[in-house]
Amino acid sequence: MLPNERSDRDEPTDAEPADAEPADAEPTDAEPADAEPADAEPTDAEPADAEPAGGGRLMPCGEYFTSYADRMGLVRWRIEKVALVLAIPIPLLLPLLLGGGALSMVTRIFIFIIAVLGLHVILGYAGEIVLAQGAFMAIGAYASTRIVAETGAGLIPGMLVGGLLTAAVAVLFGLPSWRVKGFYIAISTLALQFIALWFFENNELAFIHGGSQQNIPRDVGLVGEYVTISSATEQYFFVFAVMALFVLLTLNLSRTGIARIFRGIHENDLSSAVLGIDVFRNKLLAYAIGGFMIGVAGSLYSLYIGFISPDYFTIELTLEHYVMLLLGGMGRVWGVVLGVSLVTIVQDEIRELLLTYAADATALEPLFFGVLIIVVLAVEPKGLLAGLGQIKDYLRKWPYAY
């Protein structure tokens, strides 16, 4: 409770300065009834008020929410509602529109979105550099395969176990973050990457991971034997559902205190601690959440390929996911979606081109992404989404500079 609390304003007034503007800018034009927008309920139906009052008025601008809960909504503006309604049918229609190859690519995009979202929670929110994406996905993949093959419990329990196990390993390798940070924690997770590959390549340890190279059981049910996933289209829908769920969960996380605390640690761990944040515990929480998502993505990836081998989970996979994250923009869920989609599509195109014209020039693809990431970091370090935001800002303010 603060002194001088203003009781006349129970309602949120997010657009205070913007509200005051019409009255200030054109005092002659404003009728007395309208001229007190700052104190009277400014949040209440401003656009409706302003328009019938007469032509030539200033356009209403700012945010007009009547409750804090509304302000936190995911779909807040009319244009977002329209976009949502238009966007919903697209993923449902895709299997009809796309051929097998393209659909498979979209499925891969969805899986990688989950994996990169996990990375984004650890790196984008909590700011911990983790170079063990491949290892995390491998753990998820092998664990879920083992569960599915040996217990017959079904895909979803397998995924959950894979995710939880990955989360546990992520937390274990996050423990050094108690003392070290930044670069050094990156090295510790890089070690995990190599340990994990050695572990999964070693067939003598098959009693743990079930064999270095395994075929994924076909026609497995989601839970037990129910709702079997066999065709590519069914797989697509299943992966889409899981992806949508994780996008929603991450969006929810990003607008609650937990992600704020992660971002606080990322921005300034010193003041975070002094302001009451248990830095170490929250870092581990970020590792757990991110690790879980990457593990689930790993088990979906194994389902998608139909076969697991350590070759799919090398350091290249880690770097590929970093390109996706950095290109799209760290810290924003939609940036991840954008980055993964773009990189995967471009990657496929490049591979096809190379196959047609220069089958031997295999280095060109990593080279392309290497150059791309340098350019992105130099031009707009916050990624494509932030760049788009700047263009939007520019257009909104045009012809003024600010």
Binding site: E5, N252, R255, T256, G257, R263, A273, V274, L275
Partner: protein, 273 residues
């Protein structure tokens, strides 16, 4: 361990034994290698007091604040008390949650985020949804967030930060940044506020504003304020009590009138006469 004033050099002035004080420390020494930053300091600050800690550069003021809020551990033998409780072994974040707020000389803000997010982050420390309700969001999580936002808007309102609500903190002028730092700390709902040169680098008007807010909090909310400040004019105007440090030790304490009249303080601190 006696309740008599622990140092013979102490001048007259109200002194609260650390155990009974809102915030206190006893026999705190802090050395960094060969350097003794704090030398056997004992202070006690009563509830609702406004105490200024002054002293020349390198006197150990910031170190003392860091020891008080748990950022540094004192050398063996030193004890810290908060609200009558021994908090010597508590890490900084736990002391903060108990109600010990602090601002920084160097403004450790979350620079890439806007003002609202900065304050919301700290508010989330106070009132944070469980992981499950955060992930589900609709229901309990949303309620907590809405309540947090209401409270944050209240703080922003109070500190007159409306127009900067969505501005990235690093783009704001220093005076506003200091106010954001204060807002952020207020979100902790502290009982004691440690201010490390909260007014350095501010213009007269900005200082005036800052003092106005602090005085209001101190009087209306009984918020205990401990402030490191170089501007003696401000210090003597606002604080009820002063503690003068030099070379890590307390050389004087008492009301501003007594302390500033003290010849040793004048000699060491102001360099006048």
């Amino acid at each position: 361990m006696s309740t008599k004033e622990p140092q013979t050099r102490l001048r007259a002035g109200p002194y609260v034994p650390p155990e009974e004080a809102m915030l206190g420390c006893r026999n705190v020494t802090k050395t960094f290698g060969a350097i003794t930053a704090c030398d056997d300091v004992s202070i006690g600050i009563d509830e609702g007091e406004w105490v200024s800690i002054v002293g020349p550069n390198g006197a150990g003021k910031t170190t003392l604040l860091n020891v008080l809020n748990g950022f540094y551990d004192p050398d063996t033998g030193g004890e810290i008390f908060f609200d009558g409780e021994d908090v010597t072994t508590d890490p900084a974040h736990r002391r903060a949650r108990k109600g010990l707020g602090r601002t920084f000389q160097g403004l450790e803000l979350f620079e890439e985020e806007d003002v609202l997010e900065n304050v919301m982050t700290v508010q989330a420390v106070k009132e944070r949804p469980s992981l499950l309700s955060a992930l589900v969001f609709y229901g309990a999580g949303r309620g907590i967030e809405a309540e947090n936002m209401r409270r944050v808007e209240e703080i922003i309102d109070y500190l007159e930060l409306w127009e900067y609500r969505h501005s990235t903190v690093s783009s704001l002028p220093l005076g506003i940044q200091r106010r954001v730092d204060l807002a952020r700390t207020l979100a902790l709902d502290p009982d004691v506020l440690l201010l490390d040169e909260a007014m350095s680098g501010l213009t007269f008007d900005e200082k005036y504003d800052m003092v106005r807010f602090l005085a209001d909090l101190n009087e209306a909310e009984d918020l205990t304020l401990v402030m490191i400040e170089h501007d003696l004019e401000v210090v003597t105007d606002v604080s009820g009590r002063m503690i003068v440090l030099n070379k890590g030790g307390v050389i004087a304490r008492g009301t501003p009138e007594d302390v500033t009249a003290d010849p040793e303080v004048q000699n060491i601190y102001t360099g006048v006469d």
